[in-house]
């Protein structure tokens, strides 16, 4: 009688162990999947916030001669690429400059020609660099490096140039 009771206790103990192991396994699986899903969402958001922000801005300002790739010189005399978007508001000319400075993609909106430093621009999202080239007439090739070092590229064709 005692032996049978001992075997029952052992079985119960083993079942408890199985129960605990299954619980831990499902928790670990769930946590792992959640981490991967969260990482992907974060990466997609970083891409959307950076590159897609620039391309959307370019499209919204797409008028003949209003989107110009440019180079700016920061206070340490380093050159970096930028996209300059021109617009006229009530007869006054303004520009919006998109560029990467001090680890951030920034946007500077001011009256055309104002001597403002790159640090004044509104930080949009963390980024490493932005390179703008024009491989064909009216086609801008953007190479955007995110804060984590991932590189995204995009081409934007300026329809108004046609």
């Amino acid at each position: 009688m005692r032996r049978s009771s001992g075997a029952g206790t052992m079985a119960a103990l083993m079942l408890t162990c199985v129960f605990g192991a299954t619980l831990l396994l499902s928790l670990a699986t769930g946590a792992s999947v959640y981490r991967r899903v969260a990482d992907r969402v974060e990466q997609s958001a970083a891409q959307r916030l950076g590159l897609t922000y620039i391309t959307a801005k370019i499209h919204s300002y797409d008028e003949a001669g209003k989107v110009v790739p440019a180079v700016y010189v920061d206070p340490s005399a380093q050159e970096a690429d930028a996209v300059v978007l021109y617009q006229d508001i009530e007869g006054v000319s303004y520009w919006t400059i998109l560029y990467v400075y001090d680890g951030w993609l920034r946007e500077l909106f001011c009256q055309e020609g104002w001597p403002l430093g790159p640090e004044v621009g509104l930080p949009i999202v963390e980024a490493q660099s932005l390179v703008v080239t024009e491989p064909a007439e009216g086609l801008l090739h953007l190479v955007y490096t995110r804060a984590d070092g991932s590189v995204d590229t995009a081409d934007v064709y300026l329809r108004s140039e046609v």
Binding site: F19, L25, S26, R40, Y157
Partner: protein
Amino acid sequence: MDERIKPTKSGLFAIELLIAVGVFSLCAAICVGLFVRSEIISQDSADLNQAVTAARSASECFKAAGGDLQRTAELTGGEVSNGVLFLEFDGDWQKLPAGEPGTFELTMTLQTAESDSYSSALLDVKRWTRSETETVGESFLAWEVAALEVVS
């Protein structure tokens, strides 16, 4: 003759625990299935996001090239074979050199020009699954792209 085996306390406890473990295992199996499904959906969503970005860039190049596939290939870094533009990407959506088979493949097939100043192409993005025995391509993005002005 009418002797019945009386269940012991530990035996009852074991049966109760067995049922509990069974129910929990069933729930855990369902949860793990849902986790796997969410993982697949999340991966598909990320791939679709990247595919849209790649397709948008290719479309912009097609427009800039005035509907010329060869010129589009030069701008995008792809290659034209049998009248179809191929762009290959690895699993992380990094562009591969022309001719190298990738996990993702963007193709552009020129449509017949409907007028002298209008050219369009079918853009398709496929995910390739390669095994030792077979290679299966699954299309998950298809667009029709038009270049309004054809470069003669």
